[in-house]
Symmetry: C2
Subunit: 253 residues, 2 copies
């Protein structure tokens, strides 16, 4: 029984797509080996995690049958309640580590704890003195940034923008001004069904010279990234699919 | 002769370490296949790129012998001169694409065009109407952030901090105040031989309650991430290795 380690395993970015890529295209060999060997998991969504582990199992057989795995879900914050961030709920997830077991952390898509829950668990594990190991894996945010041609030397992930149209317009104008003043590229995401609304607001409220990129279906054969000045988008609008995750990047350039 | 595509291939993060990990642990199968098949490359450092391609070749044989590859280096900005950003030099790198060939883009470590040069080439390829494909790959910045336990819902990469002690202290205090006010995690890097100086400045100028993480040797068996409040670091200082790349993250938490 060695020193327990919290293993951060990236979930494939193609979850839920009709034609997922082979998992060996998305995860390195060692991450697959480690994932296959873990008995205890803390995950954003148990159903997603089981689907990922079934794909892992097809390449590297799991150490124990799927039904023998202990898979706990991360606390979910409720609207208007802060209890999803309550420390006791996160600390309870570390119980297997206190018994000497390694623990896996996986979110629904991409790197856990980045634009996804899990950071509280990682912090709790650090505070309890456990080792943390993050395995190679892709984040959609940085793949999109790399593919955008925007400033990769200074950038910010700003998460979701306000849904209210006036607030969103105001936030876009502020972020755009900040990006122009500092050169910092801005990265934002949206729930797929609101992609079109966000995109149209961006065309309306970002400066004509601001470069705007849209990336969809990253890490799949259907992956696309468009990147052009807002003025170019206005002249040649694309029809964005509104049924899959997109990453939006904008800034000077 | 299909539509030419610019392929962004992540370089392994273990470049230059004594015991590199197997490349199949670091890159997915499809990225390895694509890298092995490309004849034309634009890279940050030709020597590094050849070393990576030799590791690729050991797993997926290159389509043509190494010496037949066309490997061009990205323009380097010179101190005090802006000519590294001159558009013509970047556009010239796209010549193979204008002749109908796919082109690979690789930097020294991690995702190209993120905390590394290449964004100008990606933007030029977009502007010329070429397709851009970014393949799954790790960025040290986001692996470090995931492993830090800091806020993954809002973060900024601020690059290198000033070398001058007074300027660095001022910048750290400003970033720390911004992080406290907004909740945004801050990610910074430094040349390895300055790691200790930056770390000591952080212990001195960040608030005691600010969480500070240090990640080294990411994606290798020697990978470590420490993460604790500045007050905890002050009470229990670590001796940071000053000969390998480190990623520093800090913020409230």
């Amino acid at each position: 029984m060695g020193h327990p380690t919290l293993h951060l395993i990236a979930a494939p970015l193609d979850h839920g797509l009709e034609a997922p890529a082979p998992i060996v295209d998305l995860l390195g060999a060692e991450a697959l080996r480690v994932a296959a060997g873990l008995r205890h998991w803390a995950v954003e969504n148990a159903r997603t995690a089981r689907a990922v582990l079934a794909r892992v199992n097809a390449v590297v057989p799991l150490g124990v049958p799927m039904q023998s795995l202990s898979i706990a879900e991360l606390p979910r914050p409720r609207k208007g309640a802060a209890d999803g961030n309550a420390a006791p709920a996160w600390a309870a997830l570390l119980a297997p580590m206190r018994q000497g077991h390694d623990l896996g952390l996986m979110s629904e898509a991409g790197l856990p704890a980045v634009a996804d829950p899990g950071a509280r668990l990682v912090a709790a594990a650090h505070d309890a003195g456990f080792a943390i190991c993050v395995h190679p894996g892709s984040s959609a945010l940085l793949l999109a940034l790399a593919a955008s041609g925007l400033n990769g030397q200074s950038f910010a992930f700003v998460g979701y923008l306000p849904v209210d149209a006036a607030e969103r317009a105001d936030r876009l104008a502020r972020l755009d001004a900040h990006a122009r003043r500092t050169g910092q590229a801005q990265i934002a995401i949206e729930a797929p069904y609101r992609n079109r609304a966000l995109f149209e607001a961006m065309l309306q409220h970002l400066a004509p010279a601001t470069r705007l990129s849209v990336s969809i279906a990253l890490c799949t054969p259907q992956a696309r990234t468009w990147s052009r000045p807002v003025s170019g988008w206005r002249a040649m609008p694309e029809s964005l699919p509104d049924d899959q995750p997109a990453v939006f990047c904008f800034g000077p350039g």
